[in-house]
Symmetry: C2
Subunit: 261 residues, 2 copies
Amino acid sequence: MANSASGESIIGRFVKIVSAFDDRHSSMSVAELGRRTGLPVTTTYRLVNDLLQERLLEREPGGDIHIGTRMWELGSRGSKTLSLREAALPFMEDVQAVVQHSTTLGILDSDEVLYIERLGSDKTIVDITKVAGRLPLHATSSGLVLLAHSPAAYQDSFLARPLTKFTETTLTDPSELRRHLAGIRQRGFAAMPGVIVPESSGIAVPVFGPDNAIRAALSVVVPRNEENPAARVPVLMASARGISRALGWRGELKGTLRQSH
Amino acid sequence: MANSASGESIIGRFVKIVSAFDDRHSSMSVAELGRRTGLPVTTTYRLVNDLLQERLLEREPGGDIHIGTRMWELGSRGSKTLSLREAALPFMEDVQAVVQHSTTLGILDSDEVLYIERLGSDKTIVDITKVAGRLPLHATSSGLVLLAHSPAAYQDSFLARPLTKFTETTLTDPSELRRHLAGIRQRGFAAMPGVIVPESSGIAVPVFGPDNAIRAALSVVVPRNEENPAARVPVLMASARGISRALGWRGELKGTLRQSH
DNA sequence: GGAGGATTACCATTGAGCGGGAATCGAAGG
DNA sequence: CCTTCGATTCCCGCTCAATGGTAATCCTCC
């Protein structure tokens, strides 16, 4: 749908370009950018110049390109993500203060967990979650909580796909997962020992919005060898309810159970 | 530089559209978006549909449009803003815990202060700073600190412009401001009583990068009637040095003084 | 000084973007 | 039920901005 031979719009190419940057590749030359995106050389240079003009990209002294401050600003200003984050942050700080390990807030986006916020730069424990990072739903405690409280139709479509097995403990069988999700709804939290990284476990609880639909998952990552991980649950639950209430939630837990498939 | 009658590229129009959203107008109908941006009706609809396809915008049940999660993700992933924020957050939490009023981190961007992070949802005090929000350099303590440690050439060009007077205490005279900036460099902090909002004062200190250039301003907003605002300075300074060190700064204060005009 | 890469300059081709206009949908009100 | 009035979608011919090859230029680094 564009003048391009490959048939993609400028917006599509724009997304391709910006997507080429992540925390492992936060800046690169225009030529490399062209290679990573697969766009024709000349086109890449032209497009990058347009983006530099609007400050969506920025050029650093060396000549390399990185995501511009403007891009961050536009993505944050008036975004729902930011307001959710702001409602949650004070509660997350409390959790962080008590649990002493990294605390994260994740939402369901495009069949993955997207981490909105993360507190605790504690390096002593393996934690691969990053702000604006993504992880698969079925292999994280946050993801399982989000999935467990999603509409049944969505769960069905998700479970119908082939699921990657990351470690020995990753559940991939649909019916087994369904049972597990039911348990998560009943207990009110998900605890996953080493689903992606064997050394650490995640514990997650749901955050609800005014419509009683799940909005996010609050979780902590603790060392796997910890004596009693479930002891973390009450703190998490209390904080999650606080966040929910800050979002306008007035419902009760039974309201959430109604949503089980 | 596009097929458009007005001569703007798609990227330019994209920015126009996204800029139409802010915290006061976080969602609107496509028609209203067209009005706000001044774009032709048909064009707005076509462009919005492209953006919806890429999930840079999202449509809510009512039909209104808002900034998409994808946009936030792309703006955050691999952005310098995010890494600065992450380095600063733990220190900001400490400040917040001690000072008990809102703590902000701002950078210099396009001749304004752009607030990167803000802690403390304390409603008892008037504070107009918002995350991803902007305020003029000469009317905020953060802005004055950023300006004071900027290259002399930049200060000159900035002070050459006409400056808006927000309250009685806002400095707008160039030579007066220059004197004030020198004082800020000497004392190491800026204290501004009610420069934009009369009821509150801001206190800000500089954060430096490895090259000894200023990178950000750390500040707190306190009630104006507070007995001794300067008492807040030591905490701020210590934290700012902590952030600077986390960014790779190894320099000494004299290094910063050398930069005075 | 020259090999290899990154970047810029040039330019003929063409279809994606453009935007006016009309039709359709939908809610509010009489 | 009918009528506004606004939002949204459909239609369609025009045209120039975007495209992407090739070639020249600018860098480093060895």
